[in-house]
């Protein structure tokens, strides 16, 4: 558990990296700690740091061992970690709250019924539950720009399918284990396809190729298939954001 003395844990990753782990399973606090610590780390401007990122429960740091020794960096990281309780601190500022129009169910998202059954809800209850949840981008991975979001109410702790769905389209919203994935590419998946958006997450041809950032929050607002079809002409598929203050 996050608050035990075992966490955070500092270990090396490869020859030129450190990983600061805030837990060994996903929790709101561990994810909060990873996001918050990364921002603090970036603001230190330490010599030799090449890149930082976050996973679900950890902050990663890659550095140039020609510039900085493992021993020195370990001391510096421990010093920074000791400065505050990262599990309960405020999340970084500058994050955004996105509202993303989403068609739940219909032929556009054929596994809503199945997912609602697995969660022990009616379809209407399921739509209400997901569309009213304000979820956080816990990490981005698997494919460029693709967010894992959470966490949903406990009732959504449903397993992934044992068999893969051959293909879900770009913009598909899928659910499992109290999390949502919004797919940035057309891909096979074991997550159940419950909603469809027109939100393009990876735009390599533009100046801002990635839309979402770890720590952003999202509400998947329910909309009709007709409205969504019209929104496809919009670069953001009808999605809007405001900066969280």
């Amino acid at each position: 558990m996050p608050l035990s003395s075992e966490w955070p844990r500092l270990c090396t990753l490869g020859v030129d990296g450190f990983l600061v782990q805030f837990g060994d399973r996903l929790s709101e606090q561990a994810n909060r700690a990873a996001l918050t610590f990364r921002v603090a780390l970036e603001s230190q401007n330490w010599d030799g740091i090449e890149e930082t990122s976050t996973s679900l429960v950890s902050t990663y740091l890659r550095f140039d061992p020609q510039w900085q020794t493992h021993a020195d960096l370990r001391v510096m990281l421990k010093g920074l970690l000791a400065q505050q309780d990262w599990f309960t601190g405020d999340l970084p500022t500058g994050r955004r709250l996105w509202r993303v129009p989403t068609v739940y169910g219909t032929t556009m998202a054929p596994q809503l019924d199945e997912a609602a059954r697995a969660a022990g809800m009616t379809v209407d209850e399921a739509v209400a539950s997901v569309s009213q949840s304000r979820v956080r981008v816990q990490t981005i991975g698997f494919a460029p720009g693709q967010p894992y979001l959470g966490e949903l109410p406990q009732v959504w702790n449903i397993p992934r399918q044992t068999a893969l769905t051959d293909k879900v389209p770009e913009g598909a919203l899928a659910v499992a284990i109290q999390q949502l994935v919004l797919f940035s590419v057309t891909t096979p998946t074991g997550w159940r396809h419950i909603g469809q958006t027109a939100f393009r997450l990876f735009r390599p041809e533009t100046e801002q190729p990635f839309v979402l950032r770890p720590g952003d929050e999202v509400i998947f607002v329910s909309t009709s298939p007709e409205t969504l079809t019209q929104m496809k002409r919009d670069a953001d598929g009808g999605a809007t954001f405001e900066v969280i203050t």
């Binding site: 782990q21 060994d24 990663y60 061992p65 981005i140 991975g141 940035s184």
Partner: protein, 342 residues
């Protein structure tokens, strides 16, 4: 016509590669770049230009090319049979590719990835700071017959006809590995077994990673089956569901949930990428301190590659038009000077 390289024939999996893109891990984009970064450095040394130039990576099979202007080229990585207008040219060397001449490159004799470098580098569009195709991420596309690849102005200083002795890396060998965050999920017996096993490179492998085959029991970790997805770096050795190791390369995913037994040193990754199917690979754990020292030596070696290149010594038996050379014009009867003085 613009300075470019016309592709008349292209093997499958041919892409433009440089050293890849850094800084996009937080957005789920791995660095990508040439599978064999050493081959990039060798090509840059042969042509006397920076390592940032984009090259053509050929996955097991070459192609046929034509230059729209006189160019210098260099060939590195997995050796392939190559010729210019039918005349054989050697690998690990720089050559002239005259305007209109046909450069023909066949299959890899050993290893996997061959590289064609051009003086000035390939100047295709930069996307997110690099020219590398990252097919897994949908960046760039394979090079196909009919493509015309723009080439930058050649500002290199080296002469052509230079060669280098490549680091041996095409038939497997020893891979040095450091412990990583999940090494402790494996028992000391499993680690020992892992270090003493001779693995063979599976036919399944690509720019994302290479699967290794093992006879007998796999290396599955009980504790590792339910680990939370964690950051992946190239070189990480995942133990997949069937207990076989999978070594991740530059185009790997950025996070993953399979337990990892350790990380192969960057200096040894070309050996993983270039091992041909069936090649024997073994792992040996080294301490982090030793790994840093090894990497530092490797860095210095790359810096000094330029000093190791040598003029090619041509074997007369391999010169097809040997008899057209004036080989005897300096021979005299020995009394010319005497006659002249008379």
């Amino acid at each position: 016509m613009n300075r470019s390289l016309i592709v008349h024939r292209a093997g499958q999996g041919m892409t433009i590669q440089d050293l890849g893109r850094f800084g996009y891990l937080e957005y789920g984009l791995s660095r990508g770049g040439a599978a064999d970064h050493l081959a990039i450095a060798e090509g840059a040394a042969l042509l006397g230009q920076g390592r940032c130039k984009a090259t053509l990576e050929m996955a097991g099979m070459g192609g046929e090319f034509e230059a729209t202007e006189d160019m210098r080229i260099a060939l590195t990585g997995a050796p392939m049979r190559a010729s210019v207008d039918g005349a054989r040219v050697v690998w690990n060397a720089s050559h002239a590719l005259p305007k209109g001449a046909r450069l023909s490159i066949g299959g890899a004799v050993t290893g996997v990835y061959g590289y064609l470098h051009v003086g000035g580098g390939l100047e295709t569009t930069v996307k997110l700071g690099a020219r590398s195709a990252h097919l897994a991420a949908g960046l760039g596309s394979p090079v196909l017959a009919g493509d015309s690849l723009p080439v930058g102005p050649d500002q290199g200083v080296c002469q052509i006809g230079m060669g280098l002795e490549p680091s041996q890396r095409f038939d497997g060998g020893l891979l040095r590995i450091v412990p990583s965050l999940q090494t402790e999920f494996f028992t000391p017996e499993q680690i020992q077994h892992f270090e003493t096993t001779e693995f063979r490179r599976d036919t399944r492998g690509n720019r994302m990673g290479v699967r290794l085959q093992t006879k007998g029991v796999g290396f599955q970790s009980e504790a590792g089956l339910s680990v939370v997805s964690e950051v992946i770096v190239p070189g990480d050795v995942q133990i997949t569901g069937d207990g076989a190791p999978f070594v991740l390369l530059s185009e790997c995913q950025t996070t993953g949930g399979y337990p990892r037994i350790g990380t192969v040193l960057p200096a040894d990754l070309p050996r993983v990428a270039q091992a041909c199917a069936g090649a024997v690979l073994q792992f040996k754990f080294v301490s982090l301190e030793d790994a840093v020292e090894i990497e530092s030596r490797e860095w210095k070696k790359l810096q000094n590659l330029r000093q190791t290149i040598q003029p090619l010594i041509r074997d007369p038996r391999k010169i097809p038009n040997l008899l057209s050379y004036q080989l005897i014009s300096g021979v005299t009867a020995g009394d010319d000077l005497d006659k002249a003085l008379q």
